[in-house]
């Protein structure tokens, strides 16, 4: 999008309207300047990624009033331009008396309070930090405008709630320069401030936030080895003559610590690569950091497919880095859903490229599960091999000492609960995405119960991996959400989970549920049939079910213990 002209974006965006499917994702943009050009650019940046975005612009300089009007949108973005709080503030501010200056600060704080209170229930609220860059670029001494911006930004930070994020707009402005960010020609006459280039960069910059709440964040970073993790070809140059790409490896390590899977997909002798991982003194990434290795002479398409399969994630959750034109083109053609990055010729550009790519893995709240993820994925690999040795699945499951821990309406877990709704695609019956704020509201709602489950076994703790959100209406319970993380599948946890849910709502008479088809959740298409629910209604994309609670047959699985967290 960055290289497209404004008219091309408008046209392409218009063409996407009819082609894009899926639930509408509504974004309200509130502002005290004219930002009408943001609509097409914002929509297009997200529609390109299959998010059915629809932007509604607030009225000019009506943020406070609009904050009451915009209640049923998925996200709100606020462009609050300091210079236009009062017409001409940039040239009036220095001649104000101290008292008047204090009054302005107070007035703005009050407006912020009103808006934040009005938008408390909004799922996602993005606020641009105030900036004094545009008119203050020549100031040698800190002036009132700088001080005002500092005070207000500190104020914004002190008022942050779980549904809000501050956007550091100065980063976008400095990336493309102040000169290219603004078009002052229309500022005085029409109060438009930002240029098309600015909007393009800005919406690219904040895109990871929207991708994340729509479940489109990448999960694994897979490297080739030669000329990708190090300079040189191991098989030809030899162990002693390769030179590590240190910065890239450190960045990968940083991602791994945050829960991103790091893997290898390389045409090499496996023992040679293992020797480097184990013994090379300059190597930063070690065997313990690498979750999955496909080091062999098979083609990379098969290897990447195998990686996705073994990790139980979609191919579109992979980012693959390789230096070879051939491999990059091959993957682009054969597996277009994989994001492929080609190592640039200049090493310093490579470091920067990986740094930029870290946004693909954007993770707003790091949970305890993220920090343990590498360990968990490794345990998963151990389980798979144990499973192969034992052969009989029931015997194997019995040997695991499985324990489910239930967390009922547990406010401490909202970070992980929200994250699961946003990241889980395969074992997810309705694929509804919820922010932390949403979950918080559900937990406080008397007519809803949020049940999260954790699973551990003798190999380790998987953390919180399952979720059910139940709505009550008289004697009916409705399963709004039922999902499980793919890393605990194949252990009959889902059956025990339903026992837990049914037991929890046993005072009701009926449970309603539905399966909503997405292109990723085919594997749970018949789950409710297996649970013994009756089909009420069925069409292409959705099946509605009902269960008479008295008729439910518990699974009697006795090798899974259930404990309550409290």
């Amino acid at each position: 999008m960055i290289n497209m002209k404004f008219s091309e974006i408008i046209k392409a965006n218009h063409e996407l309207v009819n082609r894009i499917k899926g639930t509408e994702y509504k974004i309200g943009i509130l502002s005290n300047i004219m930002v009408h050009q943001s609509k097409d650019i914002c929509e297009y940046s997200l529609r390109q990624k299959s998010i059915n975005a629809n932007v509604e612009l607030g009225d000019y300089d009506n943020i406070v009033q609009d904050s009451m009007k915009f209640q049923d949108v998925n996200a709100i973005l606020v462009f609050w331009e300091i210079y236009n709080f009062i017409d001409g503030l940039q040239y009036k501010i220095e001649i104000l008396s101290d008292e008047e200056f204090e009054d302005i600060i107070e007035k703005i704080k009050i407006e912020i309070n009103i808006v934040f209170t009005n938008l408390e229930q909004t799922s996602l609220l993005l606020i641009n930090k105030f900036s004094s860059l545009i008119f203050n670029q020549y100031n040698l001494v800190e002036n009132r405008m700088d001080r005002l911006v500092k005070i207000l930004n500190e104020y914004l930070e002190s008022k942050m709630k779980t549904n809000m994020k501050l956007i550091d707009i100065d980063k976008v402005i400095s990336k493309i320069s102040i000169k290219n960010s603004i078009d002052l020609r229309y500022y005085y006459s029409s109060k438009t401030l930002y240029s098309i280039d600015f909007y393009k960069e800005y919406f690219e910059y904040i895109k990871p936030i929207f991708l994340s709440v729509n479940g489109k964040t990448k999960k694994a970073l897979i490297f080739d080895c030669d000329n990708t993790l190090w300079k040189g070809i191991l098989g030809e140059d030899g162990f002693d003559n390769i030179r590590m790409f240190k910065e890239v490896q450190y960045l990968a390590l940083e991602l791994s610590k945050g829960g991103v899977v790091i893997g290898l997909c390389s045409k090499n002798n496996p023992e040679d690569v293992d020797a480097v991982l184990e013994k090379h003194q300059d190597m930063i990434l070690r065997d313990k950091d690498i979750v999955i290795k496909k080091v062999n002479w098979n083609d990379k398409v098969s290897n990447l497919k195998a990686i996705a399969k073994e990790l139980n994630i979609g191919l579109d959750s992979l980012v693959f880095v390789d230096d070879s034109n051939f491999e990059v083109n091959l993957i682009n053609v054969e597996l277009p859903m994989v994001k492929v990055l080609q190592v640039p010729a200049k090493e310093y550009e490579y470091n920067l490229m990986i740094r930029n790519a870290m946004n693909y893995f954007y993770n707003p709240t790091q949970t305890a599960e993220d920090l343990e993820k590498v360990k968990m994925y490794k345990e998963q690999v151990q389980r798979v091999s144990a499973e192969q040795q034992i052969g009989n699945i029931e015997d194997y499951l019995k040997s695991l000492d499985l324990v489910i821990t239930t967390y009922i309406d547990d406010i401490e877990q909202i970070g992980r609960i929200s994250q699961m709704t946003q990241k889980t695609n395969q074992f997810n019956l309705t694929t509804k995405r919820y922010t932390e704020k949403d979950i918080e509201c559900f937990i406080h709602d008397k007519n809803k119960t949020v049940i999260a489950i954790g699973v551990n076994d003798k190999y380790g703790d998987n953390g919180i991996v399952g979720l059910a959100i139940i709505n009550y209406n008289e004697n009916m319970a409705t399963l709004d959400t039922l999902l499980m993380s793919c890393r605990v599948l194949g252990r009959n946890i889902e059956y025990k989970f339903m026992d837990i849910i049914v037991d929890f709502v046993k005072n009701m008479t009926i449970i309603n549920s539905e399966y909503v088809l997405t292109y990723k959740n085919k594997q749970v298409e018949n789950l409710y049939d297996r649970y013994g629910f009756d089909i009420l209604q069925k069409d292409e994309s959705c099946t509605k079910y009902q269960l008479d609670i008295l008729k439910y047959r518990s699974t009697n699985i006795n090798y899974i213990k259930v404990e309550n967290a409290k």
Partner: protein
């Protein structure tokens, strides 16, 4: 060049290029409001890599005038 101008304007207005003729203007095309006019100016500047002055912008009242002003500007 006339066709390039027409195409840019049609794209910005999100209408079929066939609907535009020399007399087309904010008065004859419903979607062509003042905000769209601003977008058209920006899009034309991008398309031809030029910067229009305030006076030129004010005079761009219909398609024919837009052609004339842009032709002068580019030559």
């Amino acid at each position: 060049m006339q066709n390039r101008i027409k195409k840019v304007i049609a794209d910005v207005l999100m209408i079929d290029v066939e609907l535009l003729n020399d007399e087309s203007s904010p008065e004859t095309i419903e979607d062509w409001d003042s905000l769209k006019q601003m977008n058209i100016i920006i899009a034309l500047e991008e398309e031809f890599d030029i910067l229009l002055s305030d006076d030129e912008v004010i005079e761009m009242l219909n398609m024919e005038l837009i052609y004339t002003i842009l032709k002068d500007k580019i030559s």
